[in-house]
Amino acid sequence: MANNGTPLIELAGLTKSYGEGAAQIMALNGVDLRVEEGDFVAIMGPSGSGKSTVMNILGCLDTPTGGAYLFRGVHVERLTSRQRTLLRRYFLGFVFQGFNLLARTSAIENVELPLLYRGVPKAERHQAASAALAQVGLTGWEKHTPAELSGGQQQRVAIARALVTDPQILLADEPTGNLDSRRGREIMDLLVSLNKDRGLTILMVTHDHDMAGYAHRVIRFVDGVVERDDANGRAL
């Protein structure tokens, strides 16, 4: 975990294109970015600026077309699909705008899911999931299915699912996008405290300036490149 000079994440000239020939669309046009451990970064930008694309690539849910993505100095773009999955399993936590919980499955079972794929024994799994739910303030809601929970609660379950594996970085793609502003602020408070208390590195995509205000650093994307990268309440 020690930071020995290598940044947690480093992107160099990262590109992503869809389609071919004349119909080719460049979603990312050479992105350079470094994220140090313990940072809380907000990525902003208009629709189609490539901010979600970069998130998906960082989360190993998508693959870049060109350039380099280093995770703790490892070239992720050179990994096989299986290795990327394992990277996801052991190091990354992902929170989506649309929650993406398993339907008809209780909160605790949703949270246990990543541990199940890690092969954690049942009792330990259960304990860890309960602790993660407690951390997001959902003690007493363990047996409820997503349909029985509010949007804010569902996002908390999703955050608990991302936290339960004790990831190196939490990637959140518009985590407050489907929530009203009060629930959104509650989620942001939760992320801030996770960053402050546990030193969890957080990378968050958002549309909302208020939400971005919670981060230490705001990066602005335009047309698939980083347009501005400033410190927010912290010296660069």
Partner: protein
């Protein structure tokens, strides 16, 4: 990894009770329909072959030719005692030659009466048509020669007239004369075409000829061919002999018919085989429809399942783990559905076989075949969409609408 996948598969089945139930329903109905129909078809075939066996094996029936014309029908001249003697003497390889005269008769015992058929024949009749005695004895030579008023009765007559009493030695009134009951035949039950074979009395040939029919005619002969002899050859010999005796000119058609029970048996079992095949085909369609049902449910749930696969991949499931889970899920549903189908088919077939009075014949082949066919459909359509989804980038699977 396998254990993990089994656990996940069972969880998934439990959480999606309705979907699991509908998927299984398709398999259950398909399997049950095929097995039930084929089992009943087999039962019907068995019933018919049982009836044929009860007729007696290698049996030839010889009777005058009947002609049907619009408005009238005529029967060629019947046989005479001399014809029977000629066949007995000149045709080898016959085990029994029984002349027969059949006439309807009302029989009376005490206050009970019953309308039945009286057959006049010889002891050869019992041999040829496989009758065994439950009590009493066949006719004596003297009784046959003198045409004595004695009779052997079928089980139905005993039931209708004697209810509980011992019929042997009793005197039965047949068409106004008294006949002593000397024997009781063992029940054969229903014959072909639903006729009750036990509903008849048997008397010496002369007794029926003189006292009931009032002539010397013989309506029919029942011949039993010795085992291991080709009945076709015997039929040809009989035809030659009878043509000569009955003065049928060359080029003219036979004025009599020789029927071989083996042919009847072949025709009947051929018919039932066709019937079983037809039932099987109908059932196969229902299995196919069941299969399409499974396919439908699987395809309808593919959107939800694709997203589910996306979620699983996103939280760190390997492609193989997801696939194995879906495979186990599909196999479990297909196998449980198949077994329930087999159980249902066994129950239904037993009840229906009883209701239709055909024997229940367990056919392991069709059980295995339909089980594996439905399992294959279930696995194929459960697995294929999952395979496609698991190959996607997780983010594409997550966005699937």
């Amino acid at each position: 990894m396998l254990l993990k996948s089994i656990l996940l598969a069972l969880q998934s089945i439990k959480r999606n009770v309705m979907r699991s139930f509908l998927t299984m329903l398709g398999i259950v109905i398909g399997v049950a329909a095929v097995i039930t129909m084929v089992t009943l078809g087999n039962g019907a075939t068995k019933a018919i072959s049982n009836q044929i066996a009860s007729l007696g094996s290698n049996l030839l029936m010889v009777m005058p030719r009947m002609e049907f014309r619009p408005g009238s029908s005529s029967t060629a001249q019947p046989f005479e005692n001399r014809d029977v003697e000629a066949i007995r003497e000149q045709i080898g390889s016959l085990k029994a030659v029984a002349p027969m005269v059949e006439s309807s008769a009302t029989v009376v015992y005490g206050a009970n009466n019953w309308s039945t058929s009286a057959t006049g024949t010889t002891n050869d009749y019992f041999t040829a048509s496989n009758w065994t005695f439950a009590a009493g004895r066949p006719f004596s030579e003297a009784e046959i020669q003198s045409g004595k008023a004695v009779c052997v009765i079928g089980e139905t007559i005993r039931k209708e007239l004697f209810a509980g009493k011992d019929p042997i030695g009793a005197s039965l009134r047949v068409k106004g004369f008294g006949a002593e009951v000397i024997g009781l035949l063992k029940s054969k039950g229903q014959g072909g075409m639903g006729r009750d074979q036990d509903d008849m009395i048997v008397m010496p040939l002369r007794t029926v000829q003189r006292r009931i029919a009032g002539n010397q005619k013989i309506n029919m002969m029942m011949l039993s061919v010795k085992d291991g002899v080709l009945s076709d050859d015997v039929v040809n010999q009989i035809k030659l002999l009878l043509r000569e005796r009955r003065h049928v000119g060359a080029g003219e058609e036979d004025d009599f018919e020789v029927m071989d029970t083996k042919e009847i048996a072949q025709t009947l079992s051929g018919t039932t085989k066709t019937l079983t095949g037809l039932l099987g085909a109908v059932a196969a369609v229902s299995l196919l429809v069941g299969g399409i049902g499974i396919m439908n449910i699987m395809l309808v749930s593919v959107t939800e399942r694709t997203r589910e696969i996306g979620i699983r991949l996103a939280v760190g499931a390997l492609e193989n783990e997801v696939l194995l889970q879906f495979m186990v899920e599909a196999i479990t549903l297909a196998c449980v559905g198949g077994l329930v189908g087999i159980a249902m088919a066994t129950g239904t077939a037993m009840i229906l076989a009883h209701a239709m009075a055909v024997p229940y014949v367990f056919n392991p082949g069709i059980n295995i075949l339909s089980f594996f066919f439905s399992a294959a459909i279930g696995i194929l359509f459960g697995y294929m969409p999952a395979r496609r989804a698991a190959k996607l980038n997780p983010i594409v699977a997550l966005r699937h609408e």
